[in-house]
Symmetry: C2
Amino acid sequence: VNLKLFPPPKKKDSQVQVMEDTVTNAEKSFSQFCSLLAAYTRKTARLRDKADQLVKQLINFANTENPEMRATLRNFAEDLAKVQDYRQAEVERLETKVVNPLKLYGVQIKQTRAEIKKFKSVRNNEIKQLEKLEKLRQKSPSDRQTIAETSVQRASVDASRTSHQLEETVDTFQKQKLKDIQKIFSDFVTIEMVFHAKALEVYSSAFQTLESYDLEKDLEDFRAKMHGVYGRYDARPPVMDTTLSPALPWSLAQSAQSTIQSQRKEAVSEDDSAEEDPVEDLRGQAQGLHQ
Amino acid sequence: VNLKLFPPPKKKDSQVQVMEDTVTNAEKSFSQFCSLLAAYTRKTARLRDKADQLVKQLINFANTENPEMRATLRNFAEDLAKVQDYRQAEVERLETKVVNPLKLYGVQIKQTRAEIKKFKSVRNNEIKQLEKLEKLRQKSPSDRQTIAETSVQRASVDASRTSHQLEETVDTFQKQKLKDIQKIFSDFVTIEMVFHAKALEVYSSAFQTLESYDLEKDLEDFRAKMHGVYGRYDARPPVMDTTLSPALPWSLAQSAQSTIQSQRKEAVSEDDSAEEDPVEDLRGQAQGLHQ
């Protein structure tokens, strides 16, 4: 009798235990990773919402200020809005490339668990059958021994094949699991890196905007207004008229924001002519930051 | 009579209106900026909390995995924890340099408002007195005209001085306000820039950690375990023994985390010897990102 083919039940039981533990642990862990990363994504979206409110409030406030501060705050608000656009992209990417794959994982694990259960039950039946045949063989009269031995051998081969299939299923599962962990967390890190790099770039420009603000020019305007002399601003409408009401819907504020683009270009060219050396130095430094 | 000194009431009223509008608008806007930025800071703290939970879960999961994935996930968890340390610094700096100055601003505005009110009432009394004296002067017999004129002149000088003081108060307020806006938002941008730069740096290292993960080595270990052959891991305790219970308090998980440091150094030197060219290329690229 080819006893090498006879699967040692004790060892095989602990092997099945390792397989089942692997799948159970993966199921629990991936479900926790999924809810934590979904929550992380939601908190990021909340942060974006707050910053969006800050953008609106900056635009409202800018419209009550004199031209110099108005331009500075509008440019700053525009940069802050840009960072939120990148944060929105971060949120969408986290959902697509991190949270959704983790959700799909749950389905895959359930399938593997079902397969293990099926193989396990098939194998147990095969082992029982094998034991029955073995007893039968021992009791068989000598002329029937050869036939009995053949049956045992056949059953033994079946049981061994099933064990092997079970092993392969779990091996494939483990390989895919390890690959997926690496992929999902690499994607997480890449998404975060892209966001941080973009935010750094935009804030560098925002920093320059705020640094190049000309306080004295603004104070002149304020003093002129306080004395009722509008001087160089005769042609402009009164500042309060362009105030956005805080109750204004975001869509309107958005369209107001889009008009900033053209106004901003004027402001930039004005700034350029009035540019001083320290500002030029700063710009160089800030550019160095994201090279 | 020196009528130039006589303050024209209409113009002065609109001037006081501009002053009061300036202060009222600043009070409203700064209080809104204060609550929005406090909320932004709180949302950032919530994001940090979620990521801290993810760190704990990564460490728990790492402890159930084979050595290769265990080292990779622990290093990744450590980097993720570092980013949260920087986020914590961001939260503290936002509170100290952005939210608190905006809170203090509320106090300063109330003082300015009280000063304006006081000057306004003093000036109104002075103007009334001036009008009374002017009527008196017109009715005065000619021999008393000179005395009456002197009184009018004196009252006129007083009223003018008070107006000037009021103007100076508001001028100082406006100057300080514009400086503070620039300072507070520049600080906000600087704090955000520092955080994003640090996060980018740490995630670049995390990316390398995940990229250098050796799947095949890990699968060998898994297969050996599944066949009950522990081979090269004979000296090591069974993997499940080091599992951190999910119910374990954070303080314990933290101390477990601190032991990672030394283990991590070993892992890094192991990684270096097994390093392949594509990883080296990637490291170069990632370093280029934050130069």
